[in-house]
C-alpha cells in the first residue's frame, strides 16, 4: 500500500488531531517531517483557558410567571447559550495548540450531552472544561468525572434515579455508549448499575452535583460479576476494568480520527497497548498515528460541519464571534451540527450522512459568510486557494471550476470543493 507522503501525512495529522492548518503552519511542520510533526502536535502545551462569565442562572420561571416573564427568562437563557457556544467556537479557532480542543470536541461527541434538555449553559461549560482538562490524560479520571457530571445527570435523568425508584437511563447509556459498547452487558447489569448511580442531584445555582445519602441505594449490587456496595466511582472501576472497554474506546477514537471502517484486529491490539493499564488517551493517540492506516490514502473521513467551519476560519484567520452570530449558527444548524446540541446521546452521525443536498447549500452560505469577513484580496487563483486551505492537490474538475474566480468568491467555492470537504 503506498503511503501518503510526508507533507500529505502532516496535513492529515493537522486535520485529524486538530482542525486543519493555520497559515504557514503546514509548511513549518512539514519541513521537519511527519515524525517530528507528531511530536510537536502531541507535545504542544495547551493554551491557557479563561472561561466566559455568563452571569447568573436566569432561573426557571415559576408556575405563576406571566408570559412576559417567561419570555424574558427564555431570552436570557438564549443569550447565555449563544455566548457559551461562541466562546467555544472562538477557542477552537484561535488556540495555538489545536489537539486539546479537538479532543474536547471528540469527548463532547462521545459523552454527547444536549443543551436542548439540560437548559443550563453554565453546566454545559463546566462539562466542557472537565473534558478539556481531563481529555488527554487517563480515561479513568474523565469517566469518573462524567458519571456524576451535572449536565450529564440532567440529560440522562440521573436526578430521577433514587433508591427504590431507579431510572436506568444513565446506567444504560454509560455502558452502551460511554464505556463498553452495546452487547457487552446484560439487562440485569443495567438495573444493578442504575442502583449504583442512585442519589445524585444537581444544584443548578452552584453548578454542581451532590450525592444525597438518603436517595442512594447503599446495598450490594452485582455488575458484570463483581459484587459489592457499588457507587458511581467503583462502578466506573468495574466497567473500565473489563477487557471490552479499552477496545471500545480505541474503536471510537479510530472511528472519528482515522476511518469509518472498523479497526483491523491487529491494529486494535496495538491501540489498546498504547492505551495501557493507565488508560492513557495520549498513549492511544500516539499508537493511532503510528498505524500504517493513518497514512493510508484510502482512509478518508468526511469533516464534521463544525470541524470544517473551524478549519476554514483557522485557515482564514476569522474569529467566529466577529461574524453575525445568528447567521453563523443558522448555517451550522442547516449543516446539521451546533456545539452543545448533539441530536441524541448517541452523538452525531458520520461519513456521508453529512453530504446532503440541504447541508451542501448551508455549507456554501457559511463559506460565503466566512470569506466575506476575511482579507482575501491577494488570493488570485486556484493554486493560492489550495495553499491557503492546505489541500494536497485539486482535481482537474476543481481547478477548472475555480479558474474564473478570485478573492473571497474563489475561496468560498474552494472551501466547498470535495477535496476540502473530505479529509483525504
Amino acid at each position: 500500500m503506498p503511503l501518503l507522503d510526508e507533507r500529505a501525512a502532516t496535513r492529515r495529522l493537522l486535520d485529524r488531531l486538530g482542525f486543519g492548518p493555520r497559515p504557514a503552519e503546514l509548511d513549518q511542520l512539514a519541513a521537519g517531517g511527519f515524525t517530528a510533526a507528531v511530536q510537536t502536535v502531541l507535545g504542544a502545551t495547551p493554551d491557557p483557558v479563561t472561561m466566559p462569565d455568563l452571569g447568573p442562572d436566569p432561573g426557571r420561571p415559576g408556575k405563576q410567571a406571566s408570559p412576559a416573564e417567561r419570555k424574558q427568562a427564555q431570552q436570557a437563557l438564549r443569550q447565555q447559550e449563544l455566548k457559551a457556544g461562541l466562546w467555544w467556537l472562538d477557542r477552537m479557532v484561535t488556540v495555538k495548540a489545536a489537539l486539546p480542543e479537538r479532543l474536547t470536541w471528540f469527548w463532547h461527541g462521545h459523552f454527547a450531552t444536549g443543551e436542548q434538555k439540560v437548559r443550563g449553559p453554565r453546566l454545559m461549560l463546566r462539562q466542557n472544561q472537565q473534558q478539556r482538562q481531563l481529555g488527554a490524560g487517563s480515561f479513568t479520571a474523565l469517566a469518573k468525572s462524567m458519571v456524576t457530571d451535572p449536565a450529564l445527570l440532567l440529560w440522562l435523568d440521573g436526578q430521577d434515579n433514587r433508591s427504590g425508584s431507579p431510572n436506568e437511563n444513565l446506567a444504560r447509556e454509560f455502558m452502551e455508549l460511554f464505556a463498553l459498547g452495546i452487547g457487552h452487558y446484560t439487562e440485569n447489569d443495567v438495573r444493578e448499575a442504575a442502583r449504583a448511580l442512585t442519589g445524585w442531584t444537581v444544584d443548578r445555582a452552584a453548578v454542581k452535583a451532590n450525592l444525597v445519602a438518603k436517595r442512594h441505594d447503599g446495598g450490594a449490587k452485582t455488575v458484570l460479576g463483581t459484587t459489592g456496595p457499588l457507587d458511581a466511582n467503583s462502578l466506573v472501576d468495574v466497567l473500565l476494568g473489563r477487557a471490552d472497554s479499552p477496545r471500545f474506546i480505541a474503536s471510537r477514537l479510530w472511528f472519528r480520527l482515522v476511518s469509518s471502517d472498523p479497526v483491523p484486529a491487529d491494529a486494535l491490539n496495538r491501540l489498546v497497548a498504547g492505551y495501557g493499564p493507565g488508560r492513557d488517551v495520549t498513549g492511544l493517540l500516539r499508537a493511532l498515528v503510528a498505524e500504517p492506516a493513518f497514512r493510508d490514502p484510502g482512509t478518508a473521513l468526511v469533516k464534521q460541519p463544525v470541524e470544517w467551519a473551524v478549519g476554514l476560519m483557522r485557515a482564514l484567520d476569522v474569529v467566529p464571534s466577529k461574524l453575525p452570530s445568528t447567521q453563523l449558527l443558522a448555517e451550522l444548524r442547516g449543516m446539521g451540527q451546533v456545539p452543545f446540541e448533539p441530536p441524541s446521546v448517541g452523538g452525531w452521525p458520520a461519513g456521508q450522512s453529512w453530504l446532503t443536498t440541504s447541508a451542501d447549500l448551508a455549507r456554501l452560505h457559511l463559506a460565503q459568510l466566512i470569506t466575506q469577513h476575511a482579507d482575501l484580496a491577494h488570493v488570485a487563483n486556484a493554486e493560492d486557494a489550495r495553499r491557503l486551505l492546505g489541500v494536497d492537490a485539486w482535481s482537474q474538475r476543481t481547478s477548472a471550476a475555480l479558474s474564473k474566480l478570485k478573492g473571497a468568491a474563489l475561496v468560498a467555492v474552494a472551501a466547498c470543493a470535495p477535496e476540502y470537504v473530505v479529509s483525504t
Binding site: G114, Q116, R119, L361, A417, P418, V422
Partner: protein, 401 residues
C-alpha cells in the same frame, strides 16, 4: 424543551438511529434517481401508498378531538377548554378543534377516520422514550429498528420504497439492513453568476477519486438537480406555506410521477405545549389542517393519489388537567387520524373516560399496533406478523379493501 427540541431534536433523541443506520450513513436519494426509477419501474397505479405524519412534542388530543360538552373536561381545564359552540361538531359529543375546518370537510365526506384513545400499555411520559416506542412499535423493549424499517428489511433492499421528506432520516424508517431514503425539501435557492457556475462545476464526477470525495461531488450535483427539477415544489424557509405543506407538496409530486415509493414520512414539530397552549396548538393544528386538506384534495385527482392513506399521530396526548401555566403536561392516549380515498370515515375505538383516569391520565382504548398492523396489511400489502412481532389486533373496517 419547547424551543429547540422540535422535529429535528426528537428524531434522533429517540436514540433509535443514533448509533445505528445513521452513523453508517443512510441512503440519500436525489430527484433524478427517483424519476429514473419512476420511468423504469413505475409504481402500479393500484398499489397502496402510506404517508406518515408525525406530530413531534405530544399533541393535546383532548383539545384536538374535543369532548366539549363533557363537564369533566370543562372542570379539568377551565381556562384551556373549548366551549361546545366553538368546536366543529363530529357527533357523539365530540368536536374538532376550531382550527381544523378542512378536516371537518373531509369528515363530512367520510374520508376522515378518527381512532380514539390510541396508545400503548404502560405509557411512558418521556418524549424520547415514547416517540421511540411509537416509531419502533416496540413498547416493552428498546428496539434499534423502526416499524417501517423492519417492513423494508422484510420486503427487499430498495431504499426508494420508503422516503423521508425531512432533513434527517426519522427512526421509523431505519431497519436492521435497509433504511429509507431522505429527500430534503427546504430552501434550495442556489447562487447565480460566476460563483454559482463554479460551484455547480464542483459536482462534476472525476475519474479515480476516492468514494467519499466522489460522494461529496455527487452531493453537489444532487443539489443542483434537485433544485432544478423540483422547481416550485421546494420552499424557502420564509415561504408563505408552512414546512409541512412544503413536505407534502414534494410527496404529492412523487406520487403523481409514479415513483416506486410505498411509504413516506413527513412531520410537524412544536406540540410540547406546557404553557400557554391554546393559541400555539390551534396555530399548529391549523397548519396541519391546511397542509393535509390541500394534499388530500390534490391526491384525489389521480388514480395513484387515490391509493394514498395518510396517518397522523403524536407520541402521546397530554394530561386531562391543565397545569398552572395554561398548558398541559405529558400524558398518554390520544386520537390518531387516517385520511384518504380508501378510508371509511367515522369514529373507531372508544373515547377514553374523563372520570375513570389512570393516575390523572386517560386510559388507552386502542393499541397503536392495531393501527400499524391494519396499514401494513391493507395499504402496504404485507403480513404484519413479521414486522410487529406477531401482533394480532386490527382496526376492523377502517379501510376499504
Amino acid at each position: 424543551m419547547t424551543r429547540k427540541l422540535g422535529r429535528r431534536g426528537f428524531l434522533l433523541a429517540t436514540g433509535v438511529a443514533g448509533a445505528g443506520v445513521l452513523a453508517l450513513g443512510a441512503s440519500r436519494v436525489d430527484w433524478s434517481q427517483l424519476m429514473t426509477a419512476a420511468a423504469q419501474n413505475p409504481l402500479s397505479p393500484d398499489a397502496g401508498v402510506l404517508v406518515v405524519v408525525t406530530l413531534y412534542g405530544g399533541n393535546d388530543g383532548l383539545n384536538t378531538v374535543v369532548p366539549a360538552a363533557d363537564k369533566a373536561y370543562q372542570d379539568a381545564r377551565p381556562d384551556l377548554a373549548y366551549k361546545p359552540e366553538e368546536v366543529l361538531d363530529l357527533g357523539e359529543d365530540l368536536g374538532l378543534n376550531p382550527g381544523m375546518k378542512g378536516l371537518k370537510k373531509l369528515w363530512d365526506d367520510k374520508r376522515l377516520a378518527v381512532l380514539r384513545g390510541v396508545g400503548y400499555p404502560k405509557p411512558d411520559h418521556s418524549h424520547f422514550r415514547s416517540m421511540a416506542i411509537w416509531q419502533t412499535a416496540s413498547p416493552q423493549t428498546a428496539s434499534q429498528t423502526g416499524w417501517l424499517g423492519r417492513w423494508l428489511d422484510a420486503t427487499g433492499d430498495d431504499p426508494l420504497r420508503a422516503v423521508s421528506v425531512e432533513p434527517v432520516l426519522p427512526p421509523l424508517l431505519a431497519g436492521q439492513r435497509a433504511a429509507g431514503a431522505c429527500l430534503p425539501v427546504s430552501g434550495l435557492k442556489l447562487p447565480t453568476g460566476a460563483l454559482g457556475a463554479a460551484y455547480q462545476a464542483l459536482g462534476q464526477p472525476q475519474q479515480g477519486e476516492s468514494p467519499l470525495v466522489a460522494r461529496a461531488a455527487r452531493s453537489v450535483a444532487d443539489l443542483h438537480t434537485t433544485a432544478a427539477k423540483l422547481g416550485g415544489s421546494t420552499h424557502d424557509h420564509d415561504g408563505g406555506k408552512g414546512q409541512l405543506a412544503a413536505q407534502l407538496d414534494v410527496v404529492a409530486g412523487l406520487v403523481e410521477a409514479g415513483v416506486p415509493t410505498r411509504a413516506y414520512s413527513v412531520s410537524l414539530g412544536g406540540f410540547d405545549t406546557h404553557a400557554d397552549e391554546r393559541g400555539t396548538q390551534q396555530r399548529l393544528l391549523g397548519e396541519l389542517d391546511s397542509a393535509l386538506s390541500g394534499f388530500v384534495a390534490r391526491m384525489r385527482r389521480t388514480d395513484r393519489g387515490k391509493q394514498v392513506v395518510t396517518l397522523v399521530y403524536s407520541e402521546f396526548g397530554r394530561r386531562v388537567h391543565a397545569n398552572a401555566s395554561d398548558g398541559t403536561d405529558h400524558g398518554t392516549a390520544g386520537p390518531v387520524f387516517l385520511v384518504g380515498d380508501t378510508v371509511r370515515g367515522g369514529f373507531y375505538g372508544d373515547q377514553p373516560s374523563l372520570t375513570d383516569l389512570d393516575n390523572g391520565d386517560l386510559r388507552v382504548t386502542t393499541d397503536f399496533r392495531d393501527v400499524y398492523a391494519t396499514l401494513l396489511q391493507d395499504v402496504l400489502g404485507t403480513d404484519p406478523g413479521a414486522v410487529l412481532a406477531g401482533h394480532q389486533g386490527r382496526v376492523d373496517g377502517v379501510l376499504a379493501t
